[in-house]
Point group: C2
Chain length 228, copies 2
């Protein structure tokens, strides 16, 4: 029976797709994720990131405080990792929208509905991004700003390629418009996250509110003239 009792040791790619985590690196990544999730969970209880403590997070993650340092130099570094994760979540939103396509009619209402569900599905990430975008430490704030700018540029590219805006607009104008759309949708995320659960009436009003704001923006876009 060669190799039958040898399930540890040098775990190579052959074993990588087996169910349980084997290598040290994989375990480490998993623990790191646990720490990030713990931080998000605590923020989900109404706390801001800057008010979280290192011990609090490791406790929530089921680790001893000193383990923290195996993964992050300090809280700032953990925060930046959360920003990166949040940035990925934002990109995925665009990617999903690109793939799924949208109903040609009422594309705006469709998008807002999809967005609402997406924000709920990733509510801890949005809570972090939206909450720290203006109120976090300067470092975190700058990192979030960078992610949001990238997101805005990608959206501009998508809109251009999909010909979602009727007339030709300069890149600068398109970016300005997307900036307004993005800040409006981040504002919407704040409202979505504060929406009490099961209030379909309130939820519907919220959707309609942002549908109108976006419609107004696109209405303005059709009239836009380059700098007069």
């Amino acid at each position: 029976m060669p190799g039958s009792d040898k399930k540890r040791g040098s775990a190579t790619a052959a074993q990588a797709h087996e169910g349980t985590l084997v290598t040290r690196g994989e375990r480490k990544q998993r623990t790191r994720s646990t720490l990030l999730d713990a931080a998000l969970k605590l923020m989900g209880e109404g706390r801001s990131f800057t008010s979280l403590g290192l011990r609090e997070i490791t406790r929530e993650a089921g680790l001893v405080p000193t383990s923290f340092y195996r993964h992050f130099r300090d809280m700032d570094e953990l925060g930046l990792a959360l920003v990166e994760e949040g940035g990925l979540t934002l990109r995925r939103l665009l990617r999903d929208a690109r793939k799924a396509g949208m109903p040609v009619e009422d594309i705006i209402r469709g998008s807002v509905r999809v967005y609402l569900h997406y924000v709920r599905e990733h509510h801890l990430q949005f809570l972090f991004i939206v909450g720290e975008r203006m109120g976090g430490s300067p470092t975190i704030r700058r990192a979030i700003r960078t992610e949001v700018t990238h997101f805005t540029n990608e959206m501009a590219q998508d809109i251009q390629q999909l010909r979602l805006l009727p007339r030709e607009l300069s890149t600068a104008a398109l970016q300005m418009i997307c900036g307004l759309v993005v800040s409006t949708m981040l504002n919407a995320a704040g409202d979505i996250l504060d929406l009490p659960p099961k209030q379909t009436q309130l939820e519907h009003e919220l959707v309609e509110h942002y549908v109108r704001q976006l419609r107004l923006i696109f209405l303005g876009s059709t009239l836009w003239k380059e700098s007069p």
Copy 2:
């Protein structure tokens, strides 16, 4: 010689402001203000409100920690006082704008410039309002939301009375538009507060960016049709 040698005793931080304060009530108000200012000042150093400590604030205010309780039950109550102060600052902005009037041509650029200076003049208040609007504790966040809603409604009233929008719009539509304007300007405040000093080039670009966004919104407003 009544009152000649009688000016010392418990010389407090509150008295440091020149001696014309007489009544106990006035002194108390002054100390309260000192506490609020201390909290704002600490936030001005890049901290979020939720991360501030009671001792930290009293220390900054030149008081002993226990004095805090003469003015606020806890940090949340101090935060709500700051929201109220910030709300007053927002109203004053509208009131000033109403009184001053605006150049009939280029009313938007004029407004954005006035706004930029106003935000700088009251930068600590805006730092608090904008920073805690999304990221603060639920209590503070709700309070800020209320203030911002009032502000939006007042703005809608002003715009209606001053006939700033050409066509007739329903109250609901006007409020929706003002909501978009306000959230855009709060977003702008975040950028203004992060603007490095003395960078007139960046400052000018920022102003032009928001001028374009507002112009887009007003352009959309002229086309707005009630729910189709």
